[in-house]
């Protein structure tokens, strides 16, 4: 079974922290021998009610570093979703 991590943030390939987030998830999944899909969720896309579907498809959320987010409201909506629905969340 493949589990999905949604990374809440606006991916920037020039960001060392963003690249390290992807690398850490990949090598941790490898070390644990689990199938993990990583999906970045741009903050502006999370402002709308329709974003709930995208969040529900994830099995956990990682609130990425690299503020300011393009949409602080979008990032906060994802954090609220995880808190209210008891989804696994890490914020670094």
């Amino acid at each position: 079974m493949t589990a999905t991590v949604g990374v809440v943030g606006d991916f920037n390939p020039a960001s060392r922290s963003h690249r390290a987030t992807n690398e850490a998830l990949a090598h941790t999944a490898g070390a644990l021998s689990v199938d993990l899909e990583v999906r970045w969720l741009p903050t502006e896309s999370l402002r709308e009610a329709a974003a709930r579907d995208a969040l529900e498809r994830c099995d956990g959320l990682w609130i990425s570093p690299g503020s300011p987010y393009r949409s602080l409201d979008g990032a906060l909506a994802a954090i609220r979703f995880a808190r209210e629905g008891d989804w696994p969340l890490v914020a670094t």
Binding site: T28, S67, A82, R83, L89, T92
Partner: protein
């Protein structure tokens, strides 16, 4: 949030009424030019009876930071009535880790465990998170 209707983040504008998230007060001395206020490896004291202590299995750690903003110390006491716990502190007692103990996994760190994680030694916080994610995936109906 806990009665703060105007909680704000100083990075998003100087006009927020309650600067819940504020610029770091004490920058690390001697950091490289252009580096953020909190940069490099810094000590964090972990609360013994916390989720993050169970993850580390120790209470003194050193972690990689790369940030300019932190929880405003003026608001720390405001959270005492809620369920959020501050379970990691810097050398000046600054809040570095927060968690919600009544959730299956809900952990926030001011530092960046991904910067210290390697294929041969994945960071314990990330290992614990991935385990929580795969356990949750296995426990619920697959979304269509």
């Amino acid at each position: 949030m806990l009665g703060l209707v105007d909680a704000g983040h100083a990075e998003y504008g100087p006009d927020v009424a309650s600067k819940l998230i504020a610029p770091v007060a004490c920058a690390v001395p001697g950091r490289p030019a252009g580096a953020p206020a909190l940069s490099g490896a810094l000590k964090v004291k972990i609360a013994g009876d916390s989720r993050i202590a169970a993850i580390y299995r120790r209470t003194d750690v050193e972690e990689e930071f790369f940030c300019n903003y932190a929880l405003n110390p003026d608001f720390v006491d405001h959270f005492a009535a809620g369920s959020l716990r501050f379970t990691g502190r810097g050398e000046g007692d600054e809040v570095r880790v927060a968690e919600l103990p009544d959730r299956r996994f809900y952990l926030a760190t001011l530092f960046l465990p991904q910067l210290a994680s390697t294929p041969t030694a994945p960071h314990p916080v990330i290992v614990a998170f991935v385990r929580a994610v795969t356990a949750f995936a296995a426990s619920r109906p697959r979304p269509s």
